[in-house]
């Protein structure tokens, strides 16, 4: 039986997570179908059709799916998913929102946030904020799985899958989209960036995050923050890296004024190289950093920007 992969998008662009999501799917079986559910999302379907290893792209283009409401998407994926062995989505706030509904309606368990595929029915996932790693085996007929995409590699965009329209409208009268305040940024997304530079409580206020921007521009980096910086109101919540924020694994992670609380480490410790800049040489972040620089970030950051 084939595998159904739910595509993450904003009705115009395919998100980078999907390339890694498909990599996870190819480790479970060979026949992959993607589902693009949205409104006026034909461009996304065309982009999705290029992902290597995919044989078919199903497109449910309907106003009911414009805002990815969990009630509507949940019904759609449940109805389509009955004929598949696995249903996969990225462990983003979209996937986390509707996938448990699908699992419940299909009367199967969900396996959340997998970081490794051992076989078609056995998966590895972090528990206790990554302080323990569990291996689980599912005997359910349909495996409903969300994937931590930062743990997988991107597939090539070299394929040419068949695109097939689906007319299946699942509307509901109990929930409605009111509005969204989305952060606009020219920088790469946190979860897809090759370099991430994050600020913590040591930044002292939101204005000082400008010190990170020049460096981010030179390195093509995304800007993140610790929970302490978000809770203090320096920056918005969508910049939070950590157990309850975004999980990132870039090639280079630069932690500035971040002490290294365990909840923050859970969100970035799989980065390839970690740099820590902190005035407290006892800060726990130095225990996991490849390169540590002890000093005043207000002197170091301008100097770093100038030397890049």
């Amino acid at each position: 039986m084939a595998i159904l992969v739910y595509v993450e998008h904003d009705n115009a662009h395919l998100k980078a997570e999907n390339l890694k999501l498909v990599d996870a799917a190819t480790k479970m079986g060979s026949e992959l179908h993607l589902l693009v559910a949205g409104y006026q999302c034909q461009d996304v379907a065309q982009q999705a059709a290029t992902l290597a290893g995919v044989s078919k792209v199903l497109v449910a283009d309907d106003a009911a799916y414009e805002h990815q409401l969990a009630e509507n998407i949940g019904e759609l994926v449940t109805e389509l998913g009955r004929d598949y062995s696995h249903i996969l989505a990225a462990a983003t706030t979209t996937g986390k929102n509707f996938m448990p509904r699908v699992a419940a309606l299909l009367d199967v368990a969900q396996i959340s946030d997998i970081i490794k595929v051992e076989s078609a029915d056995t998966f590895v996932r972090p528990i206790y904020a990554g302080n323990a790693i569990a291996t689980v085996q599912s005997e359910d007929a349909i495996k409903v799985i969300t994937v931590r995409t930062s743990a997988f590699d991107a597939v090539e965009q070299s394929g040419s899958a068949v695109v097939e329209a689906i007319s299946l409208s699942k509307e509901n009268s109990l929930s409605a989209f009111v509005g969204a305040e989305l952060t606009k940024s020219e920088r790469p997304e946190l979860t897809a960036a090759r370099v991430v530079i994050s600020g913590g409580r040591g930044m002292q206020n939101g204005d000082n995050f400008k010190l990170l921007e020049g460096i981010a521009d030179k390195l093509g980096a995304a800007i993140g923050a610790s929970r302490a910086a978000v809770d203090a109101g320096f920056v918005p919540n969508d910049m939070q890296v950590g157990q309850t924020g975004k999980i990132v694994a870039p090639e280079l992670y630069i932690a500035v004024g971040i002490s290294g609380a365990i909840q923050h480490l859970a969100g970035m410790k799989d980065s390839k190289f970690i740099v820590a800049i902190n005035k407290d040489e006892e800060a726990p972040i130095f225990q996991i950093a490849d390169y540590g620089l002890v000093g005043d970030l207000f002197q170091i950051l301008p100097e770093l920007e100038a030397s890049l």
Partner: protein, 249 residues
């Protein structure tokens, strides 16, 4: 209006997690346990809704062995009115928990169910959504703001790109994110009063729900430890290492 708040007993978030040497799980013997932090935020939100005169009764439910009555008492001390303990020695998965809660929703008929978005032990982030689906209710997950007016609840949700707001027709299920509120501390008089609040106990086996999951836990291991590296003297040395050694810039 009646609010149902399911809560979970979990390891205290300050405790260092130790994996058992036989790889069967995490060692919880003699470990400090607490109400899961996201569940505590759910209790607080319910109590605030009652203080605003919107809620009239708050029922707290917890599923687990006898020890989870401690967490029900904590919730009662924070301001909930009565507790329900669904007793089982079995360790249950989200789907089984959601099915038991579905029975409680059918019996209690709450207008609003508020739960934590995830527990800090299993990190599943599933139960609220599963419960909503089983009951045919709308959901507002990862809430950072909850506003009730008439038969609607407006929920501001923390999503990857920022914030999203949805409007739900009651009854509905809401799951809490960290920034929804800051829970209060229970006062000593309220802790004493909580001991006299009603707490029903029912056996999980009596609910007619299949309690065995089809997911088997094969092993639990400690994560690979990351080794710390070196301290550099200045920015010039840092940039040189990143260029020549790490080759990432």
């Amino acid at each position: 209006m009646k609010i149902l708040v399911p809560v979970k007993r979990a390891i205290d978030y300050n405790v260092k997690v130790r994996v058992k040497s036989d790889q069967s799980g995490v060692d919880l013997a003699n470990t400090k346990m607490a109400i899961n932090p996201f569940c505590e935020i759910a209790v607080e939100e319910a109590v605030r809704l009652r203080e605003q005169g919107i809620a009239s009764e708050i029922v707290v439910v917890s599923i687990g062995d006898k020890a989870c009555q401690e967490q029900i008492r904590t919730a009662l001390a924070l301001g909930a009115d009565r507790g329900l303990h669904i007793e089982t020695e079995q360790s249950l998965e989200s789907l089984q928990i959601a099915k038991l809660l579905q029975k409680v929703v059918e019996a209690e008929q709450p207008q609003l169910v508020i739960l934590g978005k995830q527990s800090i032990d299993s990190d599943n982030n599933q139960t609220g959504q599963m419960l909503a689906a089983l009951c045919g209710l709308p959901q507002g997950t990862f809430a950072s703001k909850v506003e009730i007016s008439g038969d609607k609840v407006k929920v501001t949700r923390e999503v990857d790109g920022g914030l999203q707001t949805v409007s739900l027709t009651l009854p509905a299920v809401v799951t809490t994110d960290l920034r929804l509120n800051e829970p209060r501390y229970a006062s000593l008089p309220n802790i004493m009063k909580a001991k006299r609040k009603p707490l029903d106990v029912k056996a999980a086996a009596d609910f007619g729900v299949e309690l065995t999951s089809k997911v088997k836990l094969l092993k639990v291991e400690a994560p690979a430890q990351r080794q710390g590296g070196v301290k550099v003297a200045d920015v010039a040395e840092l940039v040189a290492k990143l260029k020549n050694e790490a080759k990432v810039i």
